[in-house]
């Protein structure tokens, strides 16, 4: 017989309750960890979360006016028509006005003064992105001096940019 005798003992049923005790302790530690930034949540908040999501998921969305791609020019035309009408009423002469006669500023003012409730996604859908060039968005082309000034004002330490001196 080569069976070694273990002279150490454990309390009765120690290992039977070990997992539960460990889980309780771990959950307590996790709770404390979450509170170290000061934020707390209402009691049992997470218990009802799934049901709340289900309720929201099955609530029909309010009807939203979607601008489909094929309608984008109708929409621009509608805005232009309103601006044309406005200019037509305010002008006393009877000269025929075309879309080209509308100042860009008038169109911009119309967008500024009227809440069109369009998301950036909808605007992006409406804009003919294929025809856009970078110079349409940026008025002034960036030169090296502007870029260095910007970096100089925004970055505390040039080394943090991890620039490769060989580049």
């Amino acid at each position: 017989m080569n069976k070694k005798i273990n002279s150490f003992k454990t309390p009765e049923d120690y290992f039977e309750g070990f997992t539960d005790k460990l889980i309780t302790k771990l959950s307590e530690e996790l709770t404390i960890e979450k509170k170290t930034d000061g934020f707390t949540i209402p009691d049992a908040y997470f218990d009802s979360l799934y049901q709340n999501i289900q309720n929201k998921l099955h609530t029909p969305d309010p009807k939203v006016f979607r601008i489909n791609t094929f309608k984008k020019y109708y929409y621009v035309s509608a805005v232009a028509a309103v601006v044309l009408l406005f200019i037509g009423i305010t002008l006393t002469n009877k000269t025929k006005i075309t879309f080209d006669d509308i100042a860009i500023s008038d169109i911009e003012n119309y967008f500024d003064d009227n809440d069109l409730d369009m998301s950036t996604y909808e605007l992006a859908q409406m804009l003919p992105i294929d025809e856009l060039e970078i110079k349409d968005i940026i008025d002034n082309q960036l030169n090296d001096e502007n870029i260095i000034d910007y970096i100089d004002n925004s970055i505390d330490n040039f080394e943090e940019l991890n620039l490769d001196p060989n580049e």
């Binding site: 979450k34 509170k35 170290t36 930034d37 000061g38 934020f39 707390t40 949540i41 209402p42 908040y45 997470f46 979360l49 799934y50 709340n52 999501i53 929201k56 998921l57 970055i155 505390d156 943090e160 940019l161 991890n162």
Partner: protein
């Protein structure tokens, strides 16, 4: 624990979708909640954003192709939802980004669901002064203990850039706390 691959399959199959979705919510609700909460600060706002995040996940899971890990994809949705929420709030109120951040912090001082002490409040004030990307990186690294590789997948930014952002954020927070 169901493997991620199996969970995705179950989420995409109509007959197992409901139970898999419940498992998904149960598994990730707390992680995503705290991630969102640290961006929007207020509990009710975090609750709204969290529910919208899971709804978006449910509606878009069919198109998930597995180009990245499921949790990275969900974190990305949660981050975008939280940032969009703040942008919409800024637009509605007609304030600048910094004014909205200031209001959010002031509200935090009287929030019943914020029990932070003076230092914790000062830390939140310091975080509020950071640019958006640095704020995200700091919260994800400092509070959520995410690895740079995980953050890189979520924020679609290189590890080097993330390290730089975190370093800059730490320096700014340190100087804010020294000055205040």
């Amino acid at each position: 624990m169901v493997s991620e691959e199996l969970l995705i399959q179950q989420l995409q199959a109509p007959d197992t979708q409901a139970s898999a979705f419940q498992l998904l919510v149960d598994t990730y609700k707390e992680k995503l909640y705290w991630h969102i909460r640290r961006i929007v600060l207020d509990h009710d706002d975090a609750d709204d954003v969290l529910q919208n995040t899971f709804i978006k996940i449910f509606r878009n899971i069919g198109g998930f192709k597995g180009e990245c890990k499921l949790y990275s994809w969900m974190y990305r949705i949660a981050t975008n939802e939280a940032l969009t929420f703040i942008k919409e709030k800024t637009k509605k109120l007609g304030f600048s980004d910094s004014e909205v951040q200031e209001k959010m912090i002031n509200k935090l001082e009287s929030d019943v669901y914020f029990e932070g002490d003076f230092i914790q409040l000062q830390l939140q004030k310091a975080i509020a002064t950071l640019p958006e990307k640095q704020k995200l990186v700091f919260n994800m690294k400092y509070f959520e203990a995410l690895k740079y590789e995980e953050m890189s997948e979520i924020l679609e930014t290189s590890v080097g850039a993330l390290k730089t952002s975190y370093h800059l954020a730490m320096k700014k927070i340190e100087s804010f706390l020294k000055e205040n």
